[in-house]
Amino acid sequence: MHKILKKEKWSKEVFWMELEAEKIAKERKAGQFIILQLGGKYNERIPLTIADADSEKGTIQIVFQTVGETTHLLAKKEVGDSIANVLGPLGNPTKIEKVGTVVCVGGGIGVAPLFPIAQAMKAAGNKVKIILGARNKELVIMEDKMREVDPDLIITTDDGSYGRKALVTVPLKELCENEKIDEVVAIGPPIMMKFCAKTTEEFKVKTIVSLNTIMIDGTGMCGGCRVNIGGETKFVCVDGPEFDGHLVDWDNVLNRLGTYKSQEGEAHHKCHLDLKLAEGEA
């Protein structure tokens, strides 16, 4: 059992939690993820990225958005409650090297897993530039922590309620045009990562993305997470989660994410009814 030690509500749909997970905290490195199951026979297993960890305290931090039934149930849990099953750390850690100038692009809750990577990139001696994007001001997360890594970070929102009214690809393109960028790390919604990769392609800047696909076991057993990378089938759980964004078959990634769309839509709606929540509210 993994006790919830702290919980914060960052916006209507975004939550942060600190959990007891001693073994995971000890082994975990930037870029890795967990799979969580809320106990009992019928709960599903969902992958979540690890935002941060404290190996001495034996805790990990997760940030999640209430998009499906399980994330809604998770959001209902309070400090002192426990999560029955947490498996991790899964996936390969991010390769942290000194390459020169690294642009870290985070979209939505993708900013959470990006933070430890940006931190490590800086610690490795890179010049780190950060772009944060969100739908609106309310959904911009971890601005202060990210500002510690890059005081000049750029914020964009879709509606212009905060920072620049633009998609993250606009400042990303400007950076690529104006100076020599050695590597881009983009984590966020797949559509954002797709367009970040498209943007950097013409500048031939290596672009790492972190894929969050359908997944059951997380150990290579089910193959539900498979993706086309440069014409080859790879498993996100054992070969990833990070891949060269220029080699990812994005249409396939996006289509595969929609495999259970009809059932999930129904479940989400039912979940709001059962939990007596308004849509857009968790």
């Binding site: 026979k41 193959g223 495999t259 059932q263």
Partner: protein
């Protein structure tokens, strides 16, 4: 159809106090009752219902107790088969159980899932005399009967545990190889920790084999028994990620490790379109249903793809399981596409029979070339090519040869790939010094099951490639035996 009472009384009326060899040959082979095919595809309950008491006694009397005992040679763990059957004939079920227990730890499971017709029953003298393997003594069914009676009676005689050796041993995985290794290691007095990556133990017995073939309650009881023996089962622990193998040895005080992580990396068809929407590995399809209960559409939070027309590729037990699961999940039509002919199907004969009874269709001598899809990458069919059988290949089976110009599209919305598994790569990935062959299977010493790392042993599908429950169990026991020797030093 007769009900259970009628079957029992019919069998009872045929029982005599003693039989001559000639009379034994005249006893009709006993069939297990099964759920009616039309009914059973509407539920997930077990299909085969097991012998009644008198059926078991009758069937046991069909055994000639021949001197040569060829059946034992056919059993991977060499159960004293005539010995336990004799006890059943004498109505001593506990005695029969004790005989089985000398060699096998999981009779209720093996009685259900062993391919008896290619093992013990293949060599049975009775079957040989009738020149029909289907007329062999129903050894598997008798084994299952004994185990079920003992379980229903709540008989839980725990084996004797030797005094503590003070040594800690890790068992990685919780499938059949690991269960048997853990039991034998524990019996020798070691402290045993079993590490399972999923949130529930049992490995392939739980995520792979469906409820209608192996009720999960039976697997849960076996794991429960291990816990009562004092084995610690740690779920949500992925050796290689949660903790490295080498750290278990160097830092965590484990004196030896058994690896039974199975063949957990599904093979795909390696054809264009294999990642289209609606293509699943049998592992994924079955795991959703078996481990995550997606068949319970009301309660399970794990979705299952809604299918009308399903094509299953492969011809083994996993293909049969996938096809029969798809029917139970509501598919209108399910076809198993196999590149060889019916004779070469590697599945258990009983599973093929049950699949046919349930309405699964078979398309033999066809091989897939491409998964077709619409503009949203949703599966619309599979382009197939007809094959003919050529010369035997390395496996001894005749090789399918594609006939040019016979390409045609088979329409379907779901493709399930059940063509086998490669070894799970995680331990190798995080323990590069462990030696594997080109298929990723661990290389072990045949005598001891020790890997290239001293103190680390392996068994089951991680060594064999995808094989059977009983072979995995046999290897688990073999490894445990040499580990117990190793730990004496």
């Amino acid at each position: 159809m007769l009900d259970r009472k009628e079957v029992e009384s019919k069998a009872k009326s045929l029982i005599k106090d003693s039989y001559s060899q000639k009379e034994k040959m005249k006893i009709p082979a006993q069939e297990m009752m099964t759920q009616d095919p039309e009914q059973r595809i509407l539920n997930m309950d077990e299909v085969a219902l097991g012998y009644t008491e008198s059926q078991a006694i009758l069937e046991a009397n069909r055994c000639l107790q021949c001197k040569t005992k060829p059946c034992i040679e056919g059993c991977p763990v060499r159960i004293d088969i005539p010995g336990f059957i004799k006890k059943i004939a004498e109505k001593d079920i506990e005695g029969a159980y004790d005989v089985i227990s000398e060699s096998s730890l999981l009779p209720s499971i093996c009685g259900r899932v062993c391919p008896q017709e290619s093992q013990c029953q293949k060599f049975c003298t009775v079957g040989k005399m009738f020149k029909d393997v289907d007329k062999s003594v129903g050894i598997g069914r008798l084994e299952r009967y004994v185990a079920d009676v003992m379980r229903e009676q709540g008989n839980e005689n725990l084996p004797k545990i030797e005094n503590s050796t003070g040594k800690k041993v890790a068992v990685v995985g919780s499938g059949p190889a690991s269960i048997s290794a853990a039991a034998d290691l524990r019996k020798a007095g070691h402290e045993v920790f079993m590490f399972e990556a999923l949130h529930k133990g049992g490995g392939v017995l739980v995520y792979g084999i469906p409820e209608f073939r192996l009720p999960k309650e039976i697997v849960a009881k076996e794991l429960n028994k291990l816990e009562k023996m004092g084995v610690h089962i740690e779920t949500n622990f992925l050796v290689g990620r949660t903790r490295k193998l080498q750290d278990l040895l160097d830092k965590d005080g484990f004196s030896a490790i058994f690896i039974g992580t199975g063949a957990g990396l599904p093979k795909f068809l390696n054809i264009p379109g294999e990642n289209n929407i609606g293509v699943f590995s049998a592992n994924e399809y079955l795991t959703r249903s078996n481990l995550m209960y997606s068949y319970d559409k009301k309660l399970s939070k794990t979705p299952q793809f809604i299918s009308k027309k399903v094509a299953v590729f492969g011809g083994g037990n996993v293909a049969m399981d996938s096809a029969r699961t798809a029917l139970r999940l509501g598919a209108e039509s399910v076809t198993i596409v196999y590149r060889r002919s019916k004779e070469e199907l590697p599945a258990r004969r009983e599973e093929v029979h049950h699949a046919i009874e349930e309405g699964v269709k078979f398309l033999f001598l066809h091989s897939p070339l491409e998964v077709c899809a619409d503009e949203k990458q949703k599966v619309t069919g599979v382009k197939l090519i007809t094959c003919e059988l050529g010369e035997p290949d390395a496996s001894g089976r005749r090789r399918p040869v594609q006939i040019e110009g016979t390409e045609a599209v088979f329409e379907c919305d779901t493709v399930i790939v059940a063509i086998g598994n490669n070894s799970n790569p995680l331990i190798k990935l995080t323990t590069p010094e462990i030696e594997t062959n080109r298929r990723g299977n661990f290389v072990v010493n045949d005598e001891t099951m020790e890997t290239s790392i001293t103190g680390v042993y392996a068994g089951g599908d991680i060594v064999l490639g995808a094989a059977t429950v009983i072979k995995a169990m046999g290897q688990g026991r073999k490894a445990a035996k040499s580990m117990n020797e190793f730990l004496k030093k």
